[in-house]
Subunit: 176 residues, 2 copies
């Protein structure tokens, strides 16, 4: 079982958007180009993020996508759910209720096998919920050297107005 | 992202095998019939379990499948891996290394996004590794009433020799 590659794409796209000044937006084609990704597929993932309320589509000449919430309020779990869809990975079809030895009365509690899988998924979910874009931005900013930072600011300045009032997260922090 | 339904099937199949006396084996068609599952698909999942060393194929008139290890040494993680394949769900394609602002030197450490997803998966893995067939058998045995137990023992006695020396896990404990 492999997660959609869209989760990696969407995570890095959201980190890029987290570096924008407030109210600035970036076009889908620029978001795709930033990591040399196919524009059409990236657009599909951005639409999924928008449907899930993680990003917001902005119309007009300076339009594109921006985060719908502050980077402190968007987690990797939000992004994973937006791309992979809601609901647990383990789907219980209650097969214990079938066959010659099934209990005659249907059990009220969830099957203990499903319960074990869901408990394990819950641990994964909680860890991803605790990993916000804001926390990742800190790690990311520390990994860039001066040259990388300059190239990123130049790239960004060609696309958005960096002189707008500064974002709650330092716009100088480059995206992943 | 949904897990293969084979994980549920294989988990319950292994619990059924955990209830067998030592050295007894159950035919794939009986394992499928126990939960009214399609025999061909069940056979495919049993073969995957055998390749992963979770179950063992036994030839001959009393042949079929049995567990390859004691129920204390088989976890839900083993079963999940046998059906879903090895490796993490999150696959890192290092897209941070591409595009106009990528670091000029490739980073030696794993991408921080991948690291976060893998850490969350590790928590899920550890929880599933701690859930053995033996621990599930205890929960399962407690959920059966006397009538269910009798029906299960009758069904089993028609297929395997229950008078063989008793298993380390009580063969009276019915499967899920």
């Amino acid at each position: 079982m492999k997660m959609s590659e869209g989760v990696e794409w969407a995570s890095h796209a959201c980190l890029l958007l987290a570096a924008l000044p407030p109210d600035a937006a970036l076009r889908a084609s620029d978001i795709a180009a930033f990591h040399e990704l196919p524009s059409a597929y990236m657009a599909k993932h951005l639409q999924a993020l928008a449907r899930a309320g993680v990003v917001k589509s902005v119309r007009g000449a300076a339009g594109g996508y921006r985060l719908a919430r502050p980077p402190t309020a968007i987690s990797l779990w939000d992004i994973r759910q937006a791309i992979c869809g809601p609901g647990p990975d383990f789907v219980c079809r209650e097969i214990r209720g079938r066959g010659p030895c099934a209990a005659k009365k249907p059990a009220s509690a969830a099957c203990f096998v499903a319960h074990a899988f869901w408990e394990a998924e819950r641990l994964q979910m909680e860890a991803l919920q605790q990993t916000t874009l804001a926390s990742l931005m800190i790690t990311l900013a520390a990994s860039y050297d001066a040259d990388g930072l300059t190239r990123f600011r130049t790239w960004l300045a060609e696309r958005v107005d960096l002189e707008a009032p500064s974002s709650p997260v330092d716009p100088a922090a480059p995206p992943g």
